[in-house]
Each structure stands twice: as structure tokens, then as C-alpha cells.
């Protein structure tokens, strides 16, 4: 970062030691777009820091998703993120840690990059504040070596909550740059919503106008809608399913932004699409 000798090298730590009790299945192995949460988080961290380790409990060392990566096994009694972070400091005392929970499906490279840029190595930690309550987010944060002793003292005083630790100890807090990047998922419902959202990688807003028979069948003359359809042909198929249009695509022409176009034209956000039923002027 600034190149000063005193700044500790930054390693990555993916927290995957949770018991996933509310999810009722191992969160690390939940998949988005064919990739497990753990693989996604691990890959993301590797794009910014090296090496990256996975924090696990002793009972998890044989679990295949985790075992395929370098692991740091909890080396203190107890459970929870603080044990994982302390175990990492214990394994590599001179390193600072980019700590990421594995259950943040919306976390992006930009959010990690911004965190790295904002790092203040003179504090125990650099962390985002929560969009919900403004409190520190300890599980997408940089933890400096100086935090190790303080964490030990905090645990000796029966503290278990990394968020409370950051509130009480010197840490640099930064504003979120993406309101949903740190949304974590804990229940099957949250998982299915997140998975659906990630499937729609680039939903766009289009304006669609309806005329004549199609206006009557749609029950409206225009609407703005979110779609993944990349071209008018796909969009029409989607709208046939919604409104039951009786005209086949072969009977129609299509216009985008008030000009005739091909059915294969690539649609862009904000385009205005009009399907043109058989005309009958004169």
C-alpha cells in the first residue's frame, strides 16, 4: 500500500467454520451459478491478496470443498469468527488478514479493492460500516497484527462478538460503496432469492408499447419491465408467456426506438420496443 516497512503483508482468510444452523446445510457448499460459495469467496480473495487460507474447525478438515484449499484450523478452544481470526494470527504472526465471510454472495472485486485502498495499518482493523445499522462489518475487513493481542484480551474478558470488538477498539470505518455487497445469507429463503438474483446477471429495464390487438390482450398500452431477454425474439417469447398473445412472431414486425429492426437485434437498457401486428391502414 504505502510501502512503509512497518505495514504487515496482507494475507487472505475465508471464514468457513460456521455451523450453518439456520441454513440447515453447509453454507460453504451452497452453489451460485455452478460454483460453491467457498470457491467464489476464495477466488475473489485470490484476485487481490496471496496467499489465501480457509478458516475451518478441526471437525471440518476432511470436508472436500475445504480440504482442496490451504486451511488454518482453529487452534483455540471455542467457536466463532474470533477464534478463526486469532488462529490465523497465531499461524502467521507477522501477517495482516483480509478476512471475508464465505456467505456474502454479492461481494464484488470493487468492494474488496476499495477496502484495500482505504486500509489504515495503524488501527487494529479497517472495516465497512453496515448499510442497515452503521455498525462495523467485521467479516469483510482487514485485521492488522496489532489486533491479535487485543482479541485475546477481549476473549479473556468473555467477549465473543467481533463486531463489538471493532466498536470498542481502534478501527478505521469506511462507508459502503454498494448497499447490498455485504448482505449475508442465513436461511434457505435468502439463499434462493440470492441465487435467483445472481442468475439474472444483467437484468435490464425496457419500455414496451402495445398497439391494437396486442394492447387489448396485454390490457395496457405501455409498460417498463425488467428482463433478461437479449433480443426482441426472446422478449416476445417472454411476453407471450405472460399475456397469451395470439399472434405468432412470424405475423409481427418489431421496432426498437421507433425504427424497424431485426428480431435478433441486441437490446440495451432503456430501449423502447414495439411489436407491430399486421397493419391495416387505408
Amino acid at each position: 500500500m504505502s510501502g512503509q516497512q512497518s505495514i504487515a503483508p496482507l494475507y487472505g482468510l475465508i471464514l468457513a467454520g460456521g455451523s450453518s444452523s439456520r441454513m440447515q446445510r453447509d453454507k460453504a457448499s451452497l452453489e451460485y451459478q455452478g460454483q460453491t460459495q467457498l470457491d467464489r469467496a476464495y477466488g475473489l480473495a485470490c484476485r487481490h491478496v496471496l496467499p489465501v487460507y480457509v478458516s475451518v474447525r478441526a471437525a471440518q478438515v476432511a470436508e472436500p470443498t475445504r480440504a482442496a484449499k490451504p486451511m488454518i484450523v482453529d487452534s483455540f478452544p471455542g467457536e466463532g469468527p474470533i477464534i478463526g481470526i486469532r488462529s490465523a494470527f497465531s499461524a502467521h504472526p507477522h501477517a495482516a488478514w483480509l478476512v471475508l465471510a464465505c456467505d456474502l454472495p454479492f461481494l464484488s472485486d470493487a468492494v474488496v479493492q476499495h477496502l484495500l485502498r482505504e486500509r489504515d495499518a495503524s488501527k487494529h482493523a479497517t472495516a465497512y460500516t453496515s448499510t442497515f445499522d452503521g455498525l462495523p462489518e467485521p467479516l469483510c475487513a482487514i485485521w492488522e497484527p496489532s489486533a491479535a493481542a487485543a482479541l485475546q484480551g477481549y476473549q479473556n474478558g468473555a467477549g465473543t462478538c467481533p463486531r463489538k470488538f471493532l466498536i470498542r477498539h481502534a478501527s478505521k470505518l469506511i462507508e459502503p460503496i454498494d448497499a447490498h455487497a455485504l448482505d449475508n445469507i442465513n436461511t434457505p429463503e435468502e439463499y434462493s432469492r440470492a441465487a435467483a438474483e445472481l442468475r439474472q446477471t444483467t437484468p435490464m429495464q425496457l419500455k414496451v408499447q402495445y398497439y391494437a390487438l396486442m394492447r387489448e390482450q396485454a390490457g395496457r398500452s405501455e409498460e417498463t419491465l425488467e428482463t433478461q431477454a437479449g433480443n426482441p425474439a426472446d422478449l416476445y417469447a417472454e411476453l407471450v408467456a405472460r399475456y397469451g398473445f395470439t399472434l405468432s412472431r412470424e405475423q409481427l414486425k418489431v421496432a426498437v426506438n421507433s425504427e424497424f429492426c431485426d428480431w435478433s437485434r441486441q437490446l440495451a437498457a432503456g430501449d423502447a420496443v414495439v411489436f407491430i401486428p399486421p397493419v391495416a391502414g387505408g
Partner: protein, 157 residues
């Protein structure tokens, strides 16, 4: 001047005729399409015209420009009605001025034919029996290929 325009009330043919006047023209041909009381064996009581106006004006203007290129004519204009029309009302007016009559007839025919098949305008027929239907969208649904090509199912004109 736009060479294709819409009218939301009765088409003023006299005013349209003035718009294409030209002192070098020796003749003028106009075509008027009227709402008639029957179509395909059914009694019609009125018509409703609807247009995607933004694109219709562009496409209509392109058609008139084509006519001015293809035929040695002086000026040309098409005015189309939208809204609810009673029997006998004028649905469309096409006028062409030219040095000689032959080109004026040919160009006028070209414009009305192209307008009927290319410009996004739709008409709904209301029948004496009380029901209604969008022309070319409902009767001809079984023969989709004809929808944009078929030139025999003409109505008002």
C-alpha cells in the same frame, strides 16, 4: 413539410390539395379512402384507426419520398385519419401533382398501396352484430404469411 401526416378530426382535403399545389404542374390526382358499410360479407357500422405515430410518420414520409424518386412528379402528400370513424368518413387522402397525368396516377397508386402495407396503422371493425375485430389480426390469424403481403383483403380503400 412532412409528406405524411395524421389527422385526429375530419381530413381537410381542400387544405391538403393546397399543400401540394405547384405552378409547373399540369395535373393533380387525389385518392380518398372511405369507410364503407361492409367487409368480407359482414355489415360494418364504424371503424377505429390506431397508429404507432412516431414510426408511422417516418415510414409514410419514406414512401412519399420513394414516389418522388420513382416518378417524375412535382409534389405528393398523404394524410391519414386516426380515431373513431363513421360510415362515409374519409380514412385516408393521397394527392400528387405532376406535369402530366400519367405519372400522377402511377405515383398516387404507388403511395396508397405502400401505405396500406407498410405503415403501422391498425383498424378495428365494429359490426352490426355488435362484435368487433382487428383487421388482418383476427380473421387472418390462420394464414399468418399473408398478414403483411396479402393485398386482397382491403377494406376502406
Amino acid at each position: 413539410m412532412m409528406r405524411f401526416r395524421f389527422a385526429v378530426t375530419a381530413i381537410d382535403a381542400a387544405a391538403a390539395r393546397v399543400d401540394i399545389g405547384d405552378l409547373s404542374a399540369g395535373g393533380f390526382v387525389a385518392f380518398e379512402g372511405w369507410v364503407r358499410n361492409h367487409n368480407e360479407g359482414r355489415e360494418v357500422t364504424r371503424l377505429e384507426y390506431e397508429a404507432f405515430q412516431e414510426l408511422a410518420v417516418k415510414e409514410g414520409d419514406r414512401i412519399v419520398a420513394e414516389a418522388l424518386q420513382r416518378f417524375p412528379i412535382k409534389r405528393a402528400l398523404c394524410v391519414h385519419r386516426v380515431g373513431s370513424l363513421a360510415l362515409g368518413e374519409m380514412a385516408v387522402w393521397v394527392g400528387v401533382s405532376a406535369v402530366h397525368r400519367g405519372e400522377a396516377f402511377d405515383a398516387c397508386r404507388y403511395i396508397i398501396d405502400e401505405v396500406k402495407h407498410r405503415v403501422p396503422i391498425w383498424k378495428k371493425e365494429h359490426y352490426l352484430s355488435g362484435d368487433s375485430g382487428w383487421v388482418n389480426c383476427e380473421h387472418c390469424a390462420a394464414a399468418p404469411k399473408h398478414a403483411h403481403e396479402e393485398r386482397d383483403h382491403e377494406h376502406a380503400t
